[in-house]
Amino acid sequence: MAQKSIKKGKKQRRIIDTDIHERATYAELVPYLDNPWRRYITDNHWIQEKHMPYTQPTVAGVDRADAVTPDGGAAGTDLAFMQEQLLDAEGHEYGILTGALDPSPSSMHGWYEMGAALATAYNNWQIENWLEKDDRLYGSVHIAAQDPQQAVREIERVGSHPKMVQILLPIDTRSWGDPYYHPIFEAAERHNLSIGMHHNEPPTHFGGWPRYFIEWHTMLPTAHMIEVSNMVFNGVFDKFPGLSLIMIEGGFTHAPHLMKKMDQQYKELRHEIPWVKRMPSRIMQEHVRFTTQPVEEMTEKEFMQYMDQMGSEDMVCFATDYPHWDYDSPLEALPKLGETLEEKIYAENARASYPKLPQMQGSVLT
C-alpha cells in the first residue's frame, strides 16, 4: 500500500530517515574481532548482559512482526530485505543506521576493553556490509564511551569515513554534559560528526525501573530531557559551537516544555552557570534536533501548536525506527503539514544537521 500512495502522489516525498536499525549477529561480528575477544564469544559463549528487566510485551518482541527476514532471520539482519521493505518501498533518499544495541558497547557495565573491541568490530562490519553496499545508507560510529580516550581513538580511526555521520552516546548513569565526555565532543567537531543519542539501555530513570514496560516506554523522553538540560547547562554548546546533537527515539513533544522551563530557570538562576551565554531555548534551536518517532497521533492543529511553542520549524527530523515494533510510517504517521514544513521534517532538517550528507545546491544534490 505504501508503494501505491507514492505512485499516486504528484511528487515523491524526499525522506531522510534518521533511525534505522541494522542488526549484527554475534556470529557475524566474530570475523571482525581479534583474539582474545573472538574466543570469548566462540569458546566462552559470551553475550552482553542486557539490563532491561522486561520482555517487550508487544506483538513480536522488539521487532515489527512482518520484518522477519525471508529466511527466518532476525529483523534488520538482511540488507536486501531492508531495501525491499523500507528503502525502496517508501522511497528513501537516505537513512541513518543506528545499530541494534546488541551488543551495545557503550552500555556495557565494566569490561570496557571488550566494549572497545566490539565497537571497532561493529564499525568495520557496518562499513563493509551496509555503508559500502547501499549509497542511501549512512552510519553511526559506535564507541565504548566509558573510556573516553579509547573512544576518541576509535573516532579518529573511522570518523573520517565519508559515510559516517554521527557518534552514538549512551544514556547511562553519567550524563553527557560532564567534562568526562568533552574529548568525545572535541573529536566529533574535528570530524564533522553529530552526536546521536539513541535511547540506549538503560535510559536512566530517577527512581529506578518502573514496574511495567508501558511505564518505561511512556517515560523515555524523561531520559532525553535529562541529557539535553545537562549538556546545555554544563556549557557543552558554548565550548563546542560547531556541535550538533540529535535526540533519537524520544519523540519531540516534550521539547517545548523543556525549552520554556529551562528559559525560566535561566532567568532566575543563571548566575550558577556563568559559562552559559544565551537563553537555553536559543541554544537548543541552534544545536539540538529531535526525531519524530515514536510520534503520538495528532491533528495538524495539534502538531502546529508544538511547532509554534518551539519557535522553530528546524528542530524536528523524521524517523521510522525500522524494523522495531513502534515503527512510524513516512506516509501515515504525521498529519498533513503543507509542502514546506513537510520538506523540512522529512528531509531538510536532517540534511542540515548532518553536514556529511550530500547537501542541496538549489535543487541539485552535491
Partner: protein, 118 residues
C-alpha cells in the same frame, strides 16, 4: 461482489490469512471455535497489514492490581507494528477505543470454500 478465498480447511481454527475482495485487501480470521470473520487488512492507526500480526487473546479486565487472566485466545487481531488490538468477534472494534472499528465483510462457507462478499 464475491470472491472465493480458499478451501475451508486451508485456514485452521485460530489462524488467519490475507485475501482480497476486488481491490480491497482483506484479512480472513478463523476463531478457535471455527467461525470465520473478514476485515479490511489495514490497521486504522498507520495502515500496517494486520494479517502479518497475530491472532491472540486478551487479558481480562480486573479491579485487582496484579491479577492476570488470559482470555479469548484466537479472537483478538493484533497489528504487526504497534500492537493495536481488534476484537474479531465484535465487529472489529478496537479494544482501546471501541468506537473505532475495522471495516467488515461477510464470509460464508459454500461447498467447503471460504467466500467473501461485499
Amino acid at each position: 461482489m464475491r470472491e472465493v478465498v480458499c478451501k475451508k480447511e486451508d485456514i485452521e481454527p485460530g489462524k488467519m490469512r490475507s485475501a482480497s475482495l476486488g481491490k480491497i485487501p482483506v484479512v480472513v480470521c478463523r476463531t478457535k471455535d471455527g467461525e470465520f470473520y473478514a476485515y479490511a487488512n489495514r490497521c486504522l492507526h498507520q495502515g500496517a497489514p494486520l494479517s502479518e500480526g497475530a491472532l491472540c487473546g486478551d487479558t481480562k479486565r480486573t479491579d485487582i492490581h496484579g491479577n492476570y487472566e488470559y482470555i479469548r485466545d484466537g479472537e483478538i487481531l493484533r497489528c504487526p507494528w504497534h500492537g493495536l488490538e481488534y476484537d474479531i468477534k465484535n465487529d472489529g472494534c478496537m479494544l482501546a477505543e471501541p468506537e473505532k472499528k475495522l471495516r467488515s465483510f461477510n464470509v460464508t462457507i459454500e461447498d467447503e470454500h471460504v467466500v467473501l462478499y461485499k
